[in-house]
Symmetry: C2
Subunit: 218 residues, 2 copies
């Protein structure tokens, strides 16, 4: 598959010229962070929750405590939609009306399945952790059977997805270019700062490879 | 009011020790960004959309084109819930299980009203723009009547809200402190980079005060 099927769920309605349905673009956006916002319906009202995820192929993994209301809500709905957003800058036009933001976002809709079995759950948790910080899984004390039993892991298979991207300069109405007002873009970046070792470290340990690599990417 | 009433909507279920219901804390988190994630229900499925907002008192303003499906969905539901999330760092524990993130988030639930009249709409749009970049409204060509007519502005009055905050060091199980594994926090920061003037600027204009102030806060 190169492109997601377009339907009423994933079709970008506003600013359709910013829509991208290519799988490669969707994956690139999904893979450059680990935080998504998921909605579930509780007593008729939608509630939005930020949570970590991991992507592998067309699957998104989420995890939480077994009593997690959001996870249970997704599971009983059998469907989930989630959104990932990178904010890249403020678009400062001459007119208030044409102010905007540069961003890359993905909205996806998927079918929800509860993972059973410690091997499948452990693999999914590895995908989530590696999405947060590649290499970290092998540096950690891996989950015990008791911890796995206390963890609910959901697999969301992507049914539809779309990306929306805005980049570049402001676009003003033709007559406003003569106004003598400044316009431009104020870029926003996210970066990592030097790691703060746990004050309770008992040994003289170097900052691990996963952290060093992340700082090198800054 | 100093504290939001706690009920089944805003009560923090997971990690209740991280919950904050103080209005001042909720406002501080809301006021340190301008991007929220809103959910609306469409044909029985919740959809999450990132959008700009502005806060004034206990009101949150959102805006969009008059045909915006999300805005129309919120309006017909007469209620909205939205979430604001600041990601502050990766919490790297010794155990995979105790990995976490440092963050500050707010979830709020409110009653939705469509703003009528150009004065009220223009004021709300100013609140949204000033939330994005204080001082920018007065540097811009203000909205025309035609532009205001093309814009749907919603006022969401906060009914319930809660904040959830995690900060500080990893917390591992007692026996894991002896493992000889590194643990710590990898802080994440957002910053603004130098403004990129629109290549179509016709005049020799300085970067405006709003942008200079934002860069000074970095």
């Amino acid at each position: 598959m190169n492109k997601y099927e377009i339907n009423d769920y994933n079709k970008v309605k506003r600013g359709a010229n910013r829509a991208v349905y290519e799988q490669a673009t969707v994956r690139e956006i999904l893979d450059s962070t680990f935080l998504c916002h998921v909605a579930y319906v509780w007593e008729g009202r939608p509630i939005v929750i930020p949570t970590a995820y991991g992507r592998e192929g067309e699957c998104i993994y989420l995890h939480g405590a077994v009593a997690n209301r959001m996870m249970k809500g997704l599971l009983s709905a059998e469907q989930a939609s989630l959104t990932v957003t990178h904010l890249d800058g403020l678009v400062l036009a001459r007119s208030a009306f044409h102010h905007s933001a540069n961003y890359r976002s993905v909205a996806l809709f998927g079918s929800v399945k509860k993972l059973e079995g410690n091997e499948a759950k452990s693999h999914a948790l590895k995908v989530v952790m590696e999405q947060m910080l590649p290499g970290r899984w092998d540096e950690s004390r891996l989950p015990s059977e008791k911890e796995l039993n206390a963890t609910l892991v959901l697999e969301i298979t992507i049914d539809y997805a779309s990306a929306k991207i805005r980049s570049g300069d402001p676009v003003d109405d033709d007559e406003d270019y003569d106004l003598g007002l400044w316009a431009g873009v104020l870029p926003i970046k996210q970066h990592y700062e030097n790691a703060i070792p746990d004050p309770r470290l008992k040994f003289d340990l170097e900052v691990p490879m996963s952290v060093q690599q992340k700082l090198n990417e800054n």
